[in-house]
Symmetry: D3
Subunit: 319 residues, 6 copies
C-alpha cells in the first residue's frame, strides 16, 4: 500500500512513513508529564502532532531531520492532530529523497540560474550587466535554495528563483507589447528586486525560513537591496543615471508607502516591475489557495489577500 | 515650409494651417466687446486661443469642425495662448485628412476588431463564445471610434480597441507563464471589461468625449457592463457558473472598493484581469507623460498617478 | 413549572423542553469517543451544547428539526454550555408551535406584505408602480420568511419585511418634513433596496441563513438588485429617467464605496433612502444589544458598530 | 418693471434696486487708481461687484447696510461680475424690508421658538426639563437670528431654529416607529445639540456669519455645548445619569472622530440624534444645490458632499 | 532561601509567599466541581492561577487582599499557570509591606506632589496659578495613588504623578531650547493635561484600575478635563484668553481626531505639550517592553505600538 | 531714513535699497512687450516684482546676485507686488553684507559645527565615534550653509546645523529624564539623521534650494543616509549591532510609512529621535507662522500642519 502525503491525511487515517521535523518542543501536560509538541511535514504540507509520555532522558527531535513515524490522525478543536505512536530518526540520510519531504519549485535551481545568467549575458548596457553580475556573485549559492517568502507565496526550496524566473517570462511578454520599454533595465530590475531577502530572512538549505533576521526586521529587503547595490556599484565602478534608476526600482517595487516603498515608481520600467511582481505573487497565492479548496467552493478568508477565494469548476456544465 | 504640429508650438511661433475646433464660447472682454475663447487641436495636442473683436453677427465656430487658422503663439500667465488673426471653416471636408487632426490609435480599428473577433472565435467554451459575441454585437460600430477614457489613458480615436487589444497581448504572455489559467475566461474578461464605457461616456465619431452621460454618472461602467451582460445572457440563454464568473470579473476589475469595485477579485482569472488592466492603463499614462517631458527631467505632478514622472536618458553615458 | 427560554438560561439551570436544532456535528473526544457538538435555539436565542457518548450507529440530529431535550447548563471558558442528558426528535411536527422556536418579526408577514402592496398601489407614477410590482412578483413568497441579514440586524423570520415596513414608516415621517421629496420614488426605493438579498443569502423557511450563496459572494445584493430591476424593466417596458433613478438608489444606498456602494447618493431621495436604512438597521442592532445588557451597564464591543453600547436606566433617580 | 432677484441675474442684465452690502474693500487697480471690491446680496444669493474710480475721500460702504445700486452684469473669467455705475446708502432704514435682503427660514422665529418651548414643557423628566430650559435661557434671543452654519446648510436668518425644529419633526416620526426610545431624552438632545454654535460663530442680527470666533476655532461647538450644559447643571442642581446621557449626546452627535466627535454614539437615543442631524443637514444641502441646478442636469462638485448632485425631472415622460 | 518575584517565575518553579489578589472568580470544572480562577500579583507583574476543589462553603478571595500562597508554576497552552495548593488571607495587614505587592512609581508621591506645587507657585501669571491650584485642590488626594493608565504606560501606584513630573522635567529641557515659549502656559498644560483621568478610570488606593467609569466611557478624560477646568474658572473668576488657551491644550493634547482630540494643537505651547506627552508615554511603554525582552531579541508585537520592539545589546562587541 | 526690510513692506510703500535676486524670468505682456518677472528677497522674506518695458537686448538678472532697486509696492489680486522702477547689479560684491540678504541661523555655523564635533569627541563607543566622524567628513563644508528644508522649517543659511544642534539640546534634556537611554546612540542618531539631505536637495552657498536633485526625488534622504552610512562603515571597518541600530534610526526617524519611513522606530533611542525631530521641526514651523501673524489672530491654513495657527497675546489682561 502506497503511503499518503500530508495533504491527503484525514481524520482517523493511519500514517506510517517518512516525514521531516519542522519544529519540536518538549512540554508538560496537566499531570506534569512530559510530551513533545511537534510539527512534521512533507512536500505537500505540514501537520501538528503530539508524542505523549516522553521520557525525561530522551532528546527532543531536531528540526530539519527526517524521521520514520507511525501513528493515527485525530481531530482536536476542529483541526487535525497526529497522535504519534513511534518516531525514529533516519540515520542513513543518504537514503532519503529530500525532494519528497520539502516543497520545492517545479524546475531545478541550476536550470533557473542558468536561464537568469543567460539573460544577464544578453544585456547591451555594460553598466547594468556589471551591476547585475556582481549582485548575483554576492548572492552566491544561497540563491539555489532560498524561498521567496516565509509563507504566502513561493515558500519553497528554490522559491526565490521560481518567483524571479516566472517574472522574467512575464516581462518578456510585457516587452513585446511595449517595445519602447528599456529591456535591459526592466530585466535587471526583475532579477535584483528581491535579492535583499537573502539577508532579511534566515533560511536553512531546504528553503525553510524559521524567522526573519534582526537586520531584516530593522531594515527590510528593499533598503537592504539598495545598500547592496551600492556596494556592487563601488566594486564595479558604476555610477550615474543607470545606477540611480536601478536603486529606484528596488526601492519602489512595492508600489506604495503603505506596503513598504518610500517612493512610488516614477518611470515606466519601475512601474512595470511593480505590476509584474504583484501579478506573480498574487497568482501564486491564489493558485495555492485554490489547490486547497474543492472546486465549486470558497476558501476561508486568506489573510494576505483580505478576502475569500472561489475555486471555479470552469465548465459550461456547472450550474 | 512644413507646418508645425500643436505639440511643437512654442512662444512667438506663427501658425498657419488646419486645426480642429474642440470647443468654443463667445465672451465679453472688460470693455464689453465680444471675443471667442476657443480650444483647437490636432492629433498631437490642444491649445487655447482667443479671437478678439468678434462681430456680434458672426456665429461661434462649432466643435468638431476643421478650420484654417492664422495667428501667433503668445504666453499668458505661464501658459501658451494662440492669438488668432483669422479663422475660416473648411467647406470641402472631403479634402481634410482627419487622422492628422485627432489623436488616434496606432493601428486601424478594423484590424483590431478583426483580431478580437478571431480570439472570440477560438473559444472552446460555447457559453463564453455566445456571451462575448452578443456583447460585441450590442456594442456595434461604436467600438471603432470610442476612446478608453476622457483623458488619462488611451484618450484617442479607437482608444478602447487599442487598450483592449494591448491587454489581449499581455494576457497571451500571462497565459504562457501560468498555463493553468482558464484561457477563454481570461480573454473574454479582457474583451468585455470596459464595454460599459460605451454608455458611460458620450463620444463623438472622432473619439472625443465631451462629457459623461447621466447614466454613466449615476451607475458607472462596471455595473452597466454587468447589466448588459445579463441582457446578453437572457438573449443567448446562458446561465450558471460561467455567467457568474464573467459578471464578477467585470465588477471586480478595478480591484478595490476605493476604486469602484464593490467586490475584490476572488479567483485567479479575475485577479489577472485586474493587473493586466492596471499595467496597460498605467504604462500608457506614463508613456504619454514621458513624451511630453524632456529626457533627464521630471514632469509636473500627474494627477491620476499622484506623483511626478522622470524621463530617463537610458544610456550608460548619462551622469 | 413553566419552562425557561434560552435567553433566561444561567449557570446551573436545568432545562427540559422543546428546542430547534440549528446545526450539529459529530466529533471525537480526546479518548477517541464520539460526541455531538450541537447548537440549539428558540425564538429568544441560541446555546451550544454537547451530547457525550454518542453511539456510532446513531444519526446526528438534523438542522431545522424540533427536539425534546433534557439537561443542565454549565459554564466552560466563560461561556454557557448545555450538557445534554437526553434528546429526542419530535415526530408529530404538527403539534409544535414553530413561532416559539425561531425568532420572528413582531407582526405577521401577511399583514406587512399587504401594507407594502397598498403603498405600491398608491403610486401616481405608472412606471414606478409597474417596476415595483414586477419586482415583488419576482420575489414571490420568499419575502414572507427571509431575514434582513444573517446576523447583526433583523435576523429573524420575516425580518426583511420587518426592516422594510419600519423603513416605510420612517419614510412617511421624512416626507412630512420635506414635502418637496418625490414620494413615489422614495417609497419605491425603500421597498426595493434590499430585494437582492433574496439571492445573496440562502435562507430556510424559518428565516435562518446558513450561508451566503456563490453569486451573493461574487456580486453582492446591491448589484444583484440592479440587474433584477433591469429584468423587470425589460418585462414591463419601462425606460428613461425613472428607471435610472431607481437603479441609482439601489446601487448607492450603502452611502460610500467603503461600504459597498460604487456611487454615493446623488439626489435627495437617494440620500434620504441611505439615512433611513442606516437609522433602522442601527437602531435595531442597538436595541438588540441593549436587550442583552443589564440597565446601567455596558455591553461587550459590538463588532458591526465597532463600539460598546450603554444601556441607560433612563430615570431621574439614576445616579 | 419688477426688479430681478440676485439669483435671476445673467450676463448683460441691468439691475436697479436695493441690495445689502455683505463685505467691501477698497483696492488699487494696475494704474494705482482706487476702486471698491464689494459683495452684495439679497435673500436669493450674492454677487461680486466692482465700483471703479472710487474717489480717495469717499468712505468704503459698510457691511450690513442697505444700498440702492445701478449697474450692469458682466462676465469675467467665467463668473458673473456686477459693474456698478452708482451706489447710495439708504438713509431711511425703516423703509427697507430686510426680509427681501437676507435669506431667512420659511417660518417666523417666534413661531419656531414657541413650538420648541412647548416641546420642553411636555417633558416628563423634571431633570431634562430643567436642563433644557436653562440652556434656552442662556441662549437668549440669539436663537432668533442665528444660522445653523456659515455656509453649507441653513445659512440663513433663523437657520438654527429652522434646523432644530425640522429635526424635532423628524424625531417625532422616529419615535412613532420605535416607541421604546426615551422621548424626552431624544427631543432634549435635538434641542440642545447645536447650541454651542452660538459661541462658535459670530453672527450679526441678520444671520450673517463673518467668521468663526477664537473660542469656536480652539474648542468647537460640541465641547462648548458640553461645557455650557455643565454650567446649566450646576445652576439647576441636576446630576446623575440623565446629565451624563445628555453630555454624551452633545459630544457624539457628529458620529465619528473624523467629523469631530471624540466618542461615537453609545446608546440608541444618541445614535438616533446623529442620523436625524445627518438627514436634515444633508437634505437641506441637497435641496439648496438642486434649486441652483436645472432639472435634468448635474451640479458642479459640492465640496461638503464630495460629489456632484443630479436634479431629476421626476416625470414618467423624462427620457 | 529568598522568595521569587512574579516576574522571575518560570515553569516548574515553586512559590511560597505573599501576593495580592487582583481579581478572582468561582467557576465549575467539567465535572461540575467548583474551582477558583484567580489573578495574583506583586510589584513586578501578575500571574493567573487555579485553586481546584474549592468547597462550596468557602468565600471567593476578595480583590485587594494580601494572601499567603503555596503552589507550583505550570504551563498551559503556552502560558504560565500557578497551581495553588494552599491560600490564606493575611489578617494582620499592618505587617504587610504593600510596596512589594503593587507596582509603584520610583519616587514617593509626596515628593512628586511637592515638586508640582512648587512649579505652580512659581507661575508669574496669576490666572494660570489660580486655575492650576484650584484644579489640584479638586483632584485632592486621588493624585497620590492614581496610575496614568489601566495598562500600557505608568500603570502603577502614583503613576499619574510619575508621568506628570517626568513631563515637567522634559518641559524644562524644551523651554531651555525655545525660550520664547510661554513657560507658565506650557507647565500648567503639563500639570493639568491628564487630570480628567481621575474621573475616567476607577482606581483603588493601590493604583489598580478595575475598569473605566460610565462617565469615562461616555465622555473621555480630555473633555472631562475641559469641563472641570471651567468649573475651576467659575470658582476663581478667571476668564479670557488664558482660560481659552488652557482649555485648548487639554482638548488637543492627543494631537489628532483619530486619537481623541477634536482639535489639533493650534499654538506652540499646545504643540509642545502633545510631543512631550507622546515622548514620555512611548518611552515608558518601550522601556517596559525592553525590560521583559532579553537583550538581542525582539518582543512580541506590542498592541499599543503596533510593532515589535528590539532590545539592543548596546555594546561595540555585539555582532 | 533707514530702509525697510521685506517683511515690513506694505501696500503703497516705496523701497530703495539692496535685495538679492532669487529667481527671474523674461516674459511677454499682452501687447507682446517684454518684461521681467522677478523674485527678490532679504533675510526677512521674499517679494514678487515686475520690471515693465524690458529691452530685448538686456540680460535677465541672475539668481544669487545682489541688486540695488527702486520702486513702489502695489497690491494685485490680494498679494503685494513690487513695481520696480530701476534695478542695477552691485559690482563690488565685497561691499555687500550678505547676512542681511539671506535668512540665516541665529548662530555662526563654525560655532555650531564645533559644538557638534565636541559631542562626537565625547562618545564612549569607538564604533559610533568612527562612523559619525566619517559621515561628517563626507558631508564636508556643505554642512556650513545647507538649510534643513526647501521651505517649511529651518529654510535658511546654516539651517541644517541649526536644526541639528537644537535637537542635540533637546536630546540632552531627554537624557536627563531617562538616564537609561544610550547617550552615544541617541546623539549619533541626531547628528546623522538628516545628512542625506545634502544630496536630496541642491542648495547654493546661501542656503537657497532651487530644487530637489534627481537622486533626491528617486530615493529620498532617509535611504540616501543609510547608503552613505554603509559607505562610512566599509571605510572604517565598523560592523555589527551598532551599525544596524544607526541604520535603523536613520530609516525610521519619520515614524510612519505614510511619512516616508519603511520601518517604525523599534527601540527607545529610535523612538526618542523621532519625537525630538518632530518637536523641533514643528515648533520651528509654528514659530515662523506666529511671527507672520498678529497677536490675537489666526494665520491662514498652514499646508504642512494642515491647520490654522493662533498667535496668543499671552497676557492675563487679554480678553
Amino acid at each position: 500500500m502506497e503511503n499518503l502525503t500530508v495533504s491527503q491525511l484525514t481524520k482517523d487515517a493511519r500514517f506510517d512513513g517518512l516525514l521531516l521535523v519542522r519544529s519540536a518542543e518538549r512540554k508538560l501536560d496537566k499531570n506534569n508529564r512530559a510530551y513533545v509538541d511537534i510539527n512534521l511535514g512533507d512536500r505537500t504540507g505540514e501537520i501538528n502532532g503530539k508524542i505523549w509520555n516522553w521520557s525525561d532522558t530522551q532528546d527532543t527531535p531536531e528540526p530539519g531531520i527526517a524521521v520514520e513515524v507511525h501513528g493515527i490522525v485525530q481531530e482536536y478543536n476542529g483541526r487535525l492532530q497526529f497522535r504519534i505512536e513511534s518516531i525514529r530518526a533516519v540515520r542513513d540520510t543518504g537514503a532519503v529523497d529530500m525532494s519528497l519531504l520539502v516543497p520545492g519549485a517545479p524546475r531545478a535551481s541550476s536550470e533557473m540560474l542558468a536561464e537568469m545568467e543567460e539573460v544577464v549575458g544578453s544585456f547591451r548596457s555594460a553598466k547594468l550587466r556589471a551591476l547585475t553580475e556582481e549582485m548575483l556573485r554576492m548572492a552566491g549559492d544561497r540563491l539555489s535554495y532560498y524561498p521567496a517568502a516565509q509563507r504566502m507565496h513561493h515558500a519553497e526550496y528554490g522559491g526565490l528563483l521560481h518567483h524571479t524566473t516566472d517574472m522574467l517570462h512575464l516581462a518578456e511578454g510585457v516587452l513585446k507589447v511595449y517595445p519602447w520599454l528599456n529591456r535591459d533595465l526592466l530585466l535587471a530590475g526583475v532579477i535584483l528586486h528581491d535579492l535583499g531577502k537573502l539577508e532579511e530572512m534566515a533560511s536553512d538549505r531546504f528553503g525553510n525560513v524559521a524567522d526573519y533576521t534582526r537586520d531584516g526586521q530593522l531594515m527590510g529587503h528593499l533598503v537592504r537591496g539598495v545598500v547592496n547595490l551600492n556596494r556592487a556599484a563601488e566594486k564595479t565602478g558604476v555610477r550615474g543615471e543607470m545606477l540611480a534608476l536601478l536603486e529606484h526600482m528596488l526601492l519602489s517595487h512595492h508600489g506604495e508607502a503603505e506596503y513598504g516603498s518610500p517612493k512610488p515608481p516614477m518611470f515606466p520600467e519601475a512601474e512595470a516591475l511593480h505590476w509584474i511582481d504583484m501579478m506573480d505573487s498574487r497568482l501564486n497565492t491564489m493558485k495555492g489557495t485554490e489547490d486547497k479548496t474543492p472546486a465549486g467552493a470558497f476558501s476561508e478568508k486568506v489573510f494576505s489577500l483580505d478576502r475569500r477565494v472561489y475555486h471555479p469548476r470552469y465548465t459550461d456544465e456547472a450550474e
